[in-house]
Symmetry: C2
C-alpha cells in the first residue's frame, strides 16, 4: 500500500524525494490516473476534506503542483473526478454483495446490500463524508437516488416473496438509508471500538422495524 507502481515511484523509503520517471511520449494521460489515485489515497488518509489540497496531492504523487493543471482544470474538477470514481465503486460493491446471496432469499440480498453500504462508509470515512456531506450538489443527487433505487428494488423483491412492509417500499428504503447514514455519520464523528458491528446491528434493527418479522 505504501509503495508505488512502476510508472511513478515518488519517495524513497527514507523519505527523500526520488526523481520521477516521466511517462513516455504519447502517454501523458497516465499521470491523470496517478493523480486521481493519489488524490483518493490522500482523502482516505485525511479522513476528511479539511486539509485536502492540490499541493498535498502533488506531494502524494511526487510531482510539481503545476503538473496537475495539465489534467484537471482546477481543484473542484479533481474532487469531482475522485467522487465519481467512488460513487461507482460504492454501487458496484452493493451489487456484488447482493449477488453473493441466493435470489430465493430476497431479505438476505437486501441485508447484504445494506451491509455493503455500511462497510464501505466505515472503511472510507473521508470519501463517504465528502460524498454525503457538505459538498453535495447536482452530481451527488443521482448516485444517492441510485442507492435508494437499489434498496427499493430489494424491498419490493421481499414484498413479492411474501414479506410484509410496514411502509411503502420507497419510504422504507429512504428510512433504511437515512438510518444507516445517521449511524455512520455519528460513528465517524464519534469513533468507538467495534463501530462496524454497532452500525451493522443498528441497520439490522431498522430492517426488523421496517419488515414485519424480525
Amino acid at each position: 500500500m505504501t509503495g508505488k507502481d512502476a510508472s511513478g515511484a515518488a519517495k524513497s523509503s527514507a523519505g527523500a524525494t526520488r526523481r520521477r520517471v516521466r511517462n513516455p511520449w504519447g502517454h501523458g494521460e497516465r499521470l491523470r490516473t496517478e493523480i486521481l489515485e493519489g488524490a483518493s489515497r490522500l482523502l482516505r488518509e485525511l479522513g476528511t476534506e479539511d486539509g485536502f489540497t492540490l499541493r498535498g496531492v502533488a506531494r502524494e504523487v511526487g510531482i510539481a503542483p503545476a503538473s496537475i493543471y495539465g489534467h484537471f482544470r482546477d481543484k473542484s474538477e479533481l474532487i469531482d473526478a475522485v467522487l465519481n470514481n467512488e460513487y461507482d465503486r460504492l454501487i458496484s460493491l452493493m451489487l456484488e454483495s447482493q449477488a453473493t446471496v441466493d435470489a430465493t432469499d430476497p431479505l438476505g440480498r437486501l441485508r447484504a446490500q445494506l451491509h455493503a453500504f455500511c462497510r464501505y462508509s466505515m472503511a472510507n470515512p473521508g470519501h463517504y463524508r465528502v460524498m454525503f456531506g457538505v459538498r453535495f450538489d447536482e452530481r451527488g443527487r443521482a448516485p444517492l437516488w441510485r442507492v435508494i433505487g437499489e434498496l427499493t428494488a430489494a424491498l419490493t423483491a421481499c414484498e413479492l416473496a411474501g414479506a410484509q412492509l410496514r411502509l411503502p417500499a420507497e419510504r422504507a428504503a429512504i428510512t433504511l438509508l437515512l438510518g444507516a447514514h445517521g449511524t455512520v455519520a455519528l460513528t465517524h464523528a464519534h469513533p468507538v471500538k467495534d463501530a462496524e458491528a454497532l452500525v451493522l446491528h443498528h441497520v439490522d434493527e431498522l430492517l426488523s422495524l421496517v419488515l414485519d418479522s424480525g
Copy 2:
C-alpha cells in the same frame, strides 16, 4: 438582527466601518460576550465551519483580530465556548417544547421533543454540523448522551402509559436520534424545499415504527 446593541455598534448601514466605543473601565468582559455572539452569528451565516476564521469573527464584531486574544486563548477555545452555549440552547429548546404538552400525553411529549431537535438543527445548520459533525470529542459526547437520555425518559413514559415499544427504550431512543440525524444531515447537504416538513414527517414515521401503533 442586523443591528447591534448599544455596547458595540460596528458597522454603519452603508457598510463603512464606524469607530467602536470601547467598554467602560472594569467591564472588559463584555467584549467576551460580543465575540461569542458574533462568532455564533458568523457560524449561522456560513452554515458550515469552512471559512469560520478569527479574522471573520473580528470583522463581524467590529474589533481588531488581536482583541480576541484578551478573552480566548486561541481559535479552538472560542469554538468550544460557542458550542457549549449551543448545546445548552438545544437541550433547553427540547425541554421547553416538551413542557408545552400535557403530561397525560407522553407520546405527544416525546414527539414535541423530537420535533424541537429537528427544528433546531434545520434552523441552525452551521451550529448543528459542527456540534454533530467532524469535531466531536469528549466535550461533544456528554450532550449527545443527554439528548438520548431525554428521549429514553420520554419513551419510558410512553411505555408506562401503556404504549408498546418494539425495541428497549434506550435502543429506541438511539434509533430515533440516529434516524433524525441522518435525515437532517442529508437535508443539510442536499437542500430541498419544505425540508422541515419532510424531516418532521420522517421522524413521525420512525416513531410509528418504534411504537406499536401509528
